[in-house]
């Protein structure tokens, strides 16, 4: 009973904090939060594949980048393109890429799946560097126009150079994406997806088609990764090979998911938060982010393979066992 009344209150509190966040914490932390929201969404999108279906991709940066480059190129070359269609183009670009790759990658699994993505990720990174006339090479595409968010006849909210307005746009889109992905895992299809992770053979014998199912999950994961990449590009008003397609862009959501716990939907979000704090701190004191991340990864795999949420769950179970045994003791005495 308690839980039922507390939950809406918590959500309301979260909403209030999100609305007043820029007022409360200032522009710097508002921007930090936007980065967090983007990478949290991205990590959840990667985990839809990794945690829910057991497919590890070492090249999701290509979707993140496809979203970013798609939107940036559209805004640069199409005059007068509105914001929402531009974001839509980024989303669709990533989705299309996933659709094209799906027939190939859903035939393999395990190590081969991971390595193929590593190779494709690298391929797109190289392409972005070399096809200079399209992508701007190492400099990337910068300072492209960012239209205002408009509903014709109603409102027009300028975004370029206005971090607070951008903050609201970003958290609405990211919040919506997270909700959609969450709902996705709760549909009958989402159940099949979890089934594939646990026992592919059985899913087959229940009458579900494996490759098609995997392909849909793959496309969903790719498309939302692209959406995150697209907002990221708009946020920085820059899309570049290193910023959107580099190997670390592929690895960081995996690390976040591992740290937070791949077994739960919200785990990657906690993981991203930890990741952000650590990155913020290490940046301040050293530039050895890679080294620190590597050490964290090793420690997590060796000592807490189910991540923060796994550790919390274990503690919860122990606490329940403890209180239960205590209650029993009191009863008998």
């Amino acid at each position: 009973m308690m839980k039922k009344t507390i939950k809406p209150i918590l959500w309301l509190a979260l909403l209030v904090i999100l609305i007043f966040f820029p007022k409360l914490f200032g522009v710097y932390y508002t921007n930090v939060f936007v980065t967090f929201a983007i990478f949290a969404t991205y990590a959840v999108a990667v985990n839809v594949l990794l945690g829910y279906t057991g497919l590890l991709s070492f090249g999701h940066a290509m979707f993140f980048g496809a979203g970013g480059y798609g939107t940036a190129l559209a805004l640069k070359h199409i005059d007068g393109l509105a914001l929402m269609p531009a974001i839509g183009i980024g989303f669709l670009a990533a989705m299309l890429l996933a659709l094209v790759l799906a027939p190939l990658v859903t035939r393999v699994s395990g190590t081969a799946f991971a390595m193929i993505h590593l190779a494709f990720g690298q391929l797109f990174y190289i392409l972005a560097l070399k096809l200079r006339h399209i992508t701007g090479g190492e400099d990337g595409i910068g300072n492209f126009p960012i239209p205002a968010f408009t509903i014709p006849g109603l409102i027009s909210i300028p975004l370029k150079g206005d971090p607070v307005n951008f903050y609201y746009l970003a958290i609405v889109i990211m919040g919506l994406s997270l909700w959609l992905m969450w709902f996705f895992t709760k549909t009958p299809f989402g159940q099949i997806q979890v089934g594939i992770r646990d026992n592919e053979k059985r899913i087959d014998y229940l009458g579900y088609k494996i490759p098609q199912t995997k392909a849909i999950i793959y496309v969903v994961s790719g498309a939302f990764s692209g959406l995150a990449g697209c907002i990221y590009g708009l946020f920085h008003n820059l899309v570049s090979a290193d910023g959107s397609l580099g190997a670390m862009i592929s690895f960081s959501p995996i690390i976040a998911a591992m740290v937070g716990g791949v077994g739960s939907f919200f785990g990657p979000i906690w993981g991203t938060a930890v990741f952000q704090v650590i990155e913020e701190l290490t940046h301040r004191f050293t530039d050895r982010v890679e080294l620190v991340m590597g050490v964290i990864l090793i420690l997590v795999v060796m000592f807490a393979p189910s991540g923060i949420t796994g550790a919390v769950n274990t503690m919860k179970m122990k606490w329940h066992a403890y209180t239960a045994s205590k209650a029993k003791m009191e009863k008998t005495s």
Partner: protein, 248 residues
Amino acid sequence: MNILETKDLHHDFSGLKVLFGINLQIEEGERHAVIGPNGAGKTTLFNTITGTYHPSKGKVFFKGKDITGYKPHKLARIGMGRSFQITSTFTRLTAFQNIRLAILAKHGIRFNLFRHVDKMKDITRETEKMLERVNLINERNVPAGLLSYGKSRALEISMAMATDPELILLDEFAAGMSRDETHNAVALIRKMTEGKTVVIIEHDMDVVFSLADRITVLHYGKILATGKPDDIRDNQDVKDAYLGDLQV
């Protein structure tokens, strides 16, 4: 009418012959046991029928239709279900969610992305009814991986039956069970398969003789004998196959 028939079925693993011309006939509505010493090819026969392997020669017929080479998901959709020798459930899903997946499959709900599955009342009700029938309702919210061995075997069997297939193949369902658990499982299968056709592979002779209407004995990839339990018990070839050609 035979619901399942194999004609001259052969299978080999890269040259190693496992099945030599199996002509199996399963009558509609019967409970049929396939027995035989280790390495006789029983599980291979199951796997060849249910689409894990493609037979190197021969055909499989289901309700008169040639289904040779059908993939497992296709066989499931036309009414064939199976369980596995090694428990094959979704370990991180609860017993409820396991059964629900089978129920969803039964209703052909596959690519539904627009409804919250917990809010599908009919499915929930049907799943709970199934859990009650197989005595797993108290374990409703326990992840399958944490069930006791007997309970997880029961879940394994009920998943095969929850899709409501016309023909159910059970591969050593009593493997690793204690006496009591075996006894319960036999009762469960009797109850759940009323009016259905069941084929079992089994080593436990008590189970075989208490369940089967007819028995087929496999030996070195060939059918040695088929018949009523009493005939099989008295068959000299079968005795020899089990004990070696021993004269005591």
